[in-house]
Amino acid sequence: MKNKMSFLQQEGEACPSRCPDNSAFRQQRLPAWKPQFTITAVLSTFFLTGMFCLSVGVCLILSANSIREIQIDYSDKCSDCSKLRENSSNWNKECLCSVNFTLKEDILGDVFMYYGLQNFYQNHRRYAISRSDAQLLGQNVNNSYCAPFTTYQNGTPMAPCGAIANSMFNDTFDLFYNLNSSVTQVPLLKTGNSWWTDKNVKFRNPKSYNLSSAFAGTSRPPYWQKPVYLLDEEDERNNGYINDDFIIWMRVSAFATFRNLYRRVRRIRQFADGLPAGNYTFHISYNFPVTKFKARKHVILSTVVWSGGSNPFLGIAYVISGTAATLAGFVITAIHLKLRKRKTYFQK
């Protein structure tokens, strides 16, 4: 081989101009690694992959098992309210409903409270783009994407505009812990639930000395019960566009069935370790109509682990694929052993 190369090189030197370069690239002789499906490579790949996936899968399943989650579908339980909401003329009538549930054991650690919607297509294309990020950044722009929820017929712009904002989930939940007939409200955190960047970069209120003047000249979206600057009257930093509930709602969900973080349990007093076992009651202000489009509403209490939410699927996937890889390894071993006698050549 070497001889040949040197011979070629000599030839190359002797060649006049039109002789092609004898470089490794041009002669397609670049040093290369040629991976091959040798039996050792194949089997080691399969078995190593299998082992790895199995172990990761087991870890994931174990950690997912530690998750505690309570999911309560209140769309039927508050049937009165839902009936009331079916008629849109009752939009400003308040409707309260309470749901009881029992925790058989403590939920330890951070407990997150979600509201869940089923069959609510937030990812519908025209819905998902019906927003104006510029407006939410505090800029005063007219955005065509918000149509038809841009302005009222009299020309007053909606703030915030667009279908997403308009259909903002507006049920409110309060959680009460019933311990020995004394009812304690579970302290909940309403801020810090959204992404830091959303809260601090992506969403900005228009600049003004106070919030109501900032939104002067605009009006609330048609479905809203109160204007945007009254979303959280208690906390100035959670009001207007930078209201956490609003921000979270504006982060459009990927699926028709989804949950959004509503509150976190504040770990103080008897809730320092999480929610203790016992009877609880949700007081729900039922404002969001869903029954007419066959959607359902949930309220969820859940913990999270390092690997994410309550979904055990990832662990299962790892275990299954690990098993499959290992099995495939065995199959190949079997075939290989069976055919070994016939493979008299190329066997090293």
Partner: protein
């Protein structure tokens, strides 16, 4: 003269790439004959009708000053400024965009992008959706612009070359640029100057009004062409005065025919002078050998013939692309289905709701669409959304990859030919992958399989055969000598007969020659650049076509040499009036060889200066008197045939006994047939006594004479290699052509005297007459003689029927004719090209009569060609046969090896040649196209019925054989069927048909039968076929069998066939450039085909096929992710991936690896590919890319996209994930999966691969991070702000990115692993072999072969087939009449022959027409047993001349033929011949 070099207009087009139809250089009106040219006698002027539309009228520009320019009729003609660019700066954008829209895909994408602007159906932000198509089109536009700029620079360079134009103001020639040359200008050209436009030659410094021209730039022919000053101007000896030129030139409109030009010049007195192409200097040619020439510009710029011929590369669509287009339609279908699903789904989904939910957003006016309408709009939206299913970047990627592939092919050092200094030229840039799919090769014979270097091998004079064994030996050893010159010199000294006085000269040439040829060949490709190297070359080296050492040196046959000398001294010196028949014939024969041609002579020292005047004989050491004395003595000696020791011991030197014995041996060797024996005996009788001394002494005399008097190494410039070979042969016998002018030709005779013949007429060679003649006047006898040489079939019919002479002469003549015919047949059988030489003596009156006739014909303007032909035929009758020559066209290096390899690769090889059947068959044998064991069917017939029944019969025979085979094949069970067809153990079949039969087949509608038959035959020979038939055969096979065809040829006659095939390959050999110009790839040797197909073809195919299929996979995988999401978003056309990241995904993140893969991947190393040609079948059967692999890949793509979508979906299901946070991992996962999929496909990992792979992922990450971090508002209404950052801090993301590609690729990996374990297809074995160390590789390959051998029969393709070739040649060389091996007919063969014979007999009763059917079966074993009684059908090849046979003679002919066979007896091939 230091002039800027400008590449020729042809070569500059080589690298030009056209994506669209070439529009700039379309051929002009091709047929613009001057119509109203009536048959007029010269001088008589008739009023002619003005028909200017078909004519071009040109007058001198000098009569029009700048003021009167508007009156100049020339002003409408093109100027000489050329512009080959397609665009200007202004027109570039619109024109280029317009051109790009010629591609369907571009329109598709633009329409979709425009559709996106319709608000109701849009899926993306409309502005953004224009990006991909814009990027693609911009890339194409940049490439076009760059190409155009290069063209522009070249044009500029050419336009600014200088030339001398006569200026009215200065009354002299002034230097101007080429672009300023106008029609009607007078241009003065100097030696070695390139001609700027098509110029009518009006003056030449040559006294004969001749101007020499080198047309290498135009057609690659290196020999000089003569151009003649327009008649009437040649007589003016004075310098040409342009200002006096008042004539009007009328000629045809510009056309692209390089060999046709007609027109006339009308003088002020209305006299007309005709002229033709002989007076036209063509643009791009170079003036040689002429000091100065003046002419008037006829065509300029784009109207010149050279430019009109400039068609640029052709656009061909490769098989993969055709298949790809099919699959694109499948994709369109898929797209349609998917869109339909989306539309219907959306309709149903919308209808589901009794009241519109808040997420169903009404339009701007608050109205909702009906479900039906919503569904319809959604259909359009879906098309926009899923448009990428049709891979937008595929076309551009394919083009880029092909460019890369072509670049690599072009740079392959193995395809570089040192001798001609030519790498492979890829003229078509878009079909490299077709090289890997060839199923049929159609090859020319001459110049393609053979070198087209004609070597004089044998001759027969007067019915006596001279075998030229010394020459044969020389040729045999030539190959070794090529490697070692010193050895050669020694050998040469040993074998060289004493008469060869050239030894020092030839040796010197041998060492310098390769260099010279190198340069010359380079020159004609670089076009005008030649000027640069010219000075160097002209000063010290010569280069002449057809003068390689192997062609030049002819070692004379000692026996013949002796006779020649005798003859010479008898005829010339002693008794010019005593006609000893043999001797005059001999002299005439060699005279004819020397004279009857159009060879030009130049000397090595001054290559381009023609020897036109014989140099005076300088007084030599030996006086004439002395010579005379010697001759006198010798004559006595030879006449009396007595040996006189006193004479021999005189000053004339000793006899060379060693040589003598050698001669004797040689003579004895030859005595295998009767006449040879006779001649040998004669020799013996004479030789023992006088001739030894005679020749020896004569040698010395000649040596001294010639050495002292003349320059010895003449270079002969011939138009065809045959001519040169014959002249060199004559030179070897001391009949040296010394000079040639149009009027005279000088030949030096063996005695050293120079004879100058007046050439009265030269009737050039043409393919209709198949002969050429010269009419000369003998300087001594004043006898007018016609020497004719031509194809034997023609000459034999033109011989004198010697009825008027006395009976003995007649008998003699008849005998000579018969013997010569026999020899000719032998020659043909040995693959030699035969020519007959004949003579005719005219008396003065006859000649004058004929000459008048001829002159009239020449003067005729209309149908002059026919008249000339008629006169020629008139003259060439009643010839006396002198003899015949056999010229060998040597096989090129490595041809048998290449053919064997290609055959093994499963390629059917057909040879289409215009040559004789016998010659073709023998070449076929020697290049392993036919095997000794093969059964060869020969079909020659002219009637349809016979042909049909013959085809039926043969088919039956073939099928019978296959049926016999079938059970055996089952027995071996495991053999795949594709192997069985070509490598069956039974004897393989060859088919030989001739042109007439082809005609019958084409006209009689027998194509299908013919094709069915040929499918069973592994090689087919079509002899005596015309160019048209060649292309028809190619088209027939290509269309009917629907196979990939490749044509390879070197000459103009192959052009049609080259163009008809899927791939045309031109061999840039000795026969000009027409074939190369028409070809897609041009190589310089046939053997390069092996690497080109087996390695580059395989690679290109494998790479491109995998790349294309990968592109489909990639797009389907990716687009399906979007599709699956539609099921979760109410079929609303939502995307979970940001649009920028989506388009970048295809454009940047995943585009480089497949491109690199397409250019650089090597699935198997070149060495292994070459040593295992079977690997080629991979591409041939389209194993990598066909419908099934496409569908499998599609299914895999669906699977992978499902995994890539649903693993994240199930993971994030029912969580608070938002749309882009869900899309981001999907995007990442699919990127990883797609890249890993590519990694699985890649067989070689170089640094490039690694870098692009890692780079792609890194680029994706970096881009996403930056984009997601910086984009708060950039892409309204939605953007993926901070998503990547967020995800990178989420363990789920990493877990997903790990598991999903594993699951997605597990099945594919599993199948790959299984494929390596269970089936081990050949390609995998080859890859395994690749990994082994060098020595073991060969071992394994051998093992593989030996494993296959018992299955595929005993056919052993020995790796050292070069030895075989040598053997073969040696066979040919030693003596074709004496084959050591004896004929055998195996038992089985006899049986089958009987069978077939009975069948044929039966058939004969039914169809008693003329026609032949040779059923030849070559003996299977090579045993030594001779069995002449094996049957009347065994023996030699049938020598039945087809044209004379009638049914009645059949049996007689047959037996006669067989008698002959027995005489020459033992031959390995056993043959049965049946004549119908």
């Amino acid at each position: 003269m230091s002039r800027k070099s400008v590449p020729g207009c042809f070569s500059r087009m080589v690298w030009k790439k056209h994506f669209f139809k070439e529009t700039c250089c379309q051929c002009g009106t091709p047929d613009t004959e001057i119509q109203n040219e009536e048959l007029e006698k010269r001088g008589k002027v008739k009023k002619r009708k003005k028909k200017n539309e078909n004519k071009r009228v040109i007058v001198s520009n000098l009569s029009f000053g700048s003021k009167k320019w508007k009156e100049n009729p020339n002003r409408y003609y093109d100027s000489n400024k050329i512009k080959t660019t397609k665009y200007t700066i202004l027109t570039f954008l619109p024109k280029n965009i317009y051109e790009q829209f010629h591609r369907f895909a571009n329109i598709y994408f633009v329409v979709i992008a425009l559709l996106n602007f319709v608000p109701i159906v849009n899926a993306f932000q409309p502005e953004v959706s224009m990006i991909p198509i814009c990027v693609i089109m911009a890339m194409t536009a940049i490439k076009d612009a760059w190409e155009d700029f290069r063209r522009y620079k070249l044009d500029k360079e050419i336009n600014h070359m200088g030339c001398y134009i006569y200026s009215r103001e200065e009354h002299a020639y002034v230097e101007k640029c080429w672009k300023d040359v106008r029609v009607g200008d007078f241009v003065q050209l100097q030696c070695n100057e390139t001609i700027p436009a098509d110029i009518l030659l009006l003056y030449s410094s040559d006294q004969n009004g001749v101007c020499h021209l080198e047309t290498a730039n135009l057609d690659g022919e290196t020999n000089l062409k003569q151009r003649q000053v327009v008649m009437g101007f040649s007589s003016q000896n004075a310098l040409f005065e342009p200002e006096l030129f008042q004539n009007t030139i009328i000629c045809e409109m510009p056309n692209n025919d390089l060999n046709k030009f007609k027109g006339y010049m009308e003088q002020p007195n209305h006299e007309r002078v005709g002229f033709n192409i002989e007076s036209l200097l063509l643009r791009g040619c170079t003036i040689r050998n002429t000091e100065a020439a003046v002419g008037i510009v006829i065509y300029a710029g784009h109207e010149t013939k050279a430019m009109l011929n400039n068609n640029g590369p052709r656009y061909k669509r490769s098989k993969i692309e055709r298949q790809m287009n099919m699959d694109i339609f499948l994709c369109v279908g898929l797209l349609f289905v998917m869109c339909l699903v989306g539309a219907v789904g959306h309709g149903i989904w919308t209808r589901n709701f009794s009241e519109h939910p808040p997420y169903d957003v009404p339009d701007e006016n608050g109205n909702f669409l009906s479900p039906f309408l919503a569904g319809f709009y959604m259909f359009l939206t879906m098309i926009i959304l899923l448009q990428v299913l049709i891979p937008i970047s595929l076309y551009v990627s394919i083009e880029l990859v092909k460019l890369g592939q072509v670049f690599l092919i072009h740079n392959d050092i193995d395809l570089y030919d040192e001798e001609t200094d030519l790498p492979i030229q890829c003229r078509a840039l878009n079909i490299p992958e077709d090289l890997g799919q060839i199923q049929y090769i159609f090859s020319d014979k001459t110049g393609t399989l053979t070198e087209n270097k004609m070597v004089f091998r044998r001759c027969t004079v007067d019915g006596i055969e001279f075998s030229h064994q010394e020459n044969a030996k020389r040729l045999e050893t030539h190959k070794e000598l090529d490697l070692d010159n010193e050895d050669f010199a020694k050998l040469q000294h040993l074998t060289l007969p004493p008469i060869n006085i050239e030894t020092p000269g030839t040796l010197k040439q041998r060492t310098t020659r390769p260099l010279r040829r190198c340069q010359s060949a380079r020159a004609h490709f670089q076009g005008h650049t030649r000027n640069r190297s010219l000075g160097r070359r002209d000063s010290n080296q010569s280069q002449v076509a057809f003068s390689s050492p192997i062609e030049k040196d002819v070692t004379p046959d000692s026996r013949l040499l002796r006779r020649v000398r005798e003859a010479a001294l008898q005829t010339e010196n002693l008794s010019p009036f005593i006609h000893m028949k043999t001797s005059t014939t001999l002299t005439d024969f060699f005279l004819a060889l020397a004279i009857c041609n159009t060879v030009l002579v130049s000397t090595a020292t001054e290559p381009r200066q023609r020897v036109t005047v014989p140099p005076p004989i300088k007084p030599s050491g030996i006086t004439l008197e002395k010579i005379h004395q010697i001759f006198q003595r010798l004559k006595l000696a030879s006449l009396s045939q007595s040996f006189s020791s006193s004479q021999s011991s005189s000053d004339l030197g000793a006899s060379l006994s060693a040589r003598n014995t050698e001669e004797q041996l040689a003579a004895l060797d030859c005595c295998d047939n009767d006449d040879c024996c006779a001649s040998g005996r004669d020799d013996g009788l004479q030789g023992k006594d006088g001739t030894d001394i005679g020749s020896a002494s004569l040698d010395e005399v000649f040596k001294s004479v010639t050495n002292s008097s003349l320059p010895t190494d003449f270079c002969y410039e011939a138009e065809s290699p045959d001519e040169a070979a014959l002249v060199y042969a004559a030179q070897a016998y001391s009949f040296t052509l010394v000079s040639r002018t149009p009027e005279q030709v000088t030949v030096r005779l063996p005695q050293g005297t120079l004879l100058t013949f007046d050439i009265l007429y030269t009737l050039g060679f043409d393919s209709v007459r198949k002969r050429m003649s010269v009419v000369v006047r003998h300087p001594l006898t004043k006898e007018i003689a016609v020497y004719t040489k031509g194809a034997d079939s023609v000459i034999m019919d033109l011989l004198e029927d010697s009825a008027k002479d006395d009976i003995s002469t007649e008998k003699r003549m008849k005998r000579i004719k018969e013997k010569t015919q026999k020899h000719l047949d032998y020659y043909a059988r040995d693959g030699l090209r035969t020519l007959c030489i004949a003579k005719k003596v005219l008396n003065e009156d006859d000649f004058q009569k004929w000459a008048n006739f001829r002159r009239e014909a020449e003067a005729a303007i209309d149908n002059r060609d026919e008249l000339l032909m008629e006169t020629a035929q008139h003259l060439e009758t009643k010839l006396t046969l002198l003899g015949a020559t056999g010229i060998e066209d040597r096989l090129q290096d490595g041809v048998p090896d290449t053919i064997a390899a290609l055959r093994e690769a499963g390629i059917q090889i057909w040879v289409l040649t215009g040559d004789k059947q016998e010659t073709a068959v023998n070449i076929a044998y020697s290049c392993k196209l036919l095997n000794q064991r093969d059964t060869v069917f020969t079909i020659n017939t002219e009637s349809k019925e016979t042909c049909e029944s013959l085809l039926n019969l043969t088919l039956e025979e073939v099928r019978k054989n296959y049926e016999v085979e079938k059970p055996r094949r089952k027995f071996f069970g495991i053999i795949p069927t594709s192997f069985a067809a070509s490598e069956a153990p039974s004897p393989e079949f060859g088919l030989v048909v001739d042109g007439r039969t082809l005609n019958v087949i084409f006209q009689g509608g027998l194509e299908e039968k013919f094709l069915t038959l040929t499918k069973h035959c592994h090689s087919v020979l079509c002899c005596r076929s015309t160019p048209l038939q060649k292309s028809m055969v190619v088209k027939l096979v290509r269309r009917q069998l629907n196979v990939m065809t490749l044509s390879i040829g070197d000459g103009a006659n192959d052009v049609s066939m080259i163009q008809a095939a899927d791939i045309g390959i031109g061999i840039s050999g000795q026969e000009g450039m027409q074939a190369v110009m028409a070809s897609d790839f041009a190589i310089s040797r046939f053997k390069h085909l092996k690497k080109l197909l087996l390695v580059h073809g395989h690679w290109c195919y494998a790479r491109l096929a995998k790349m294309v299929i990968y592109f489909f996979y990639k797009n389907v995988t990716y687009v399906n992710l979007l599709f699956w999401y539609q099921f979760f978003c109410g079929f609303s056309g939502s995307t979970m991936i940001d649009y920028w990241q989506m388009i970048f995904f295809n454009l940047f993140f995943t585009s480089m690896p497949p491109l690199l893969f397409g250019v650089l991947d090597r699935d198997v190393s070149a060495e292994t590919l070459l040593s295992m040609p079977e690997l080629y079948k991979n591409g041939q059967n389209s194993e990598i890319y066909n419908l099934s692999t496409f569908i499998i890949t599609m299914l895999d793509a669906f699977y992978q996209s499902l995994i890539c979508f649903f693993i994240p979906y199930l993971t994030y299901e029912d969580s608070d994930i938002d749309v882009f946070s869900f899309g981001n991992p999907i995007n990442t996962i699919s990127l990883l999966t797609i890249l890993l999929h590519q990694a699985l496909e890649m067989k070689t990992w170089t640094l490039f691969h690694l870098v692009t792979m890692i780079g792609s992922v890194a680029f994706y990450l970096v881009f996403s991070l930056i984009y997601n971090a910086s984009c708060v508002l950039c892409n309204p209404p939605t953007n993926p702000y901070w998503i990547m950052e967020k995800q990178l801090s989420d363990p789920t993301f990493y877990l997903l990115c790990l598991i999903t590609p594993i699951i997605a690729l597990l099945p594919r990996f599993f199948i790959f692993a299984l494929r390596g374990t269970i089936g081990t297809p050949l390609i995998l074995k080859a890859q395994q072999i690749d990994k082994l160390p060098k020595g073991q590789q060969d071992l394994e390959i051998q093992k593989l072969r030996s494993r296959k051998q018992p299955i595929s029969g005993a056919r052993v393709i020995s790796p050292t087939s070069n030895d075989d070739l040598d053997q073969n040649i040696s066979h040919l060389c030693v003596s074709p009449f004496l084959h050591p091996a004896a004929a055998t007919v195996s038992h089985r063969d006899t049986e089958s022959q009987r069978l077939s014979t009975s069948k044929v007999n039966h058939l004969r009763k039914e169809t008693p027409e003329e026609g032949y059917y040779f059923f030849n079966r070559w003996a299977e074993e090579e045993s030594t047993a001779t069995d002449p009684s094996a049957g009347p059908f065994s023996g030699h090849y049938p020598l039945v001349p087809s044209r004379v046979t009638t049914p009645g003679q059949d049996s007689g002919k047959l037996s006669k033929g067989n008698e002959n066979n027995f005489n020459h007896g033992s031959h390995r091939r056993s043959v049965s011949a049946v004549t119908l």
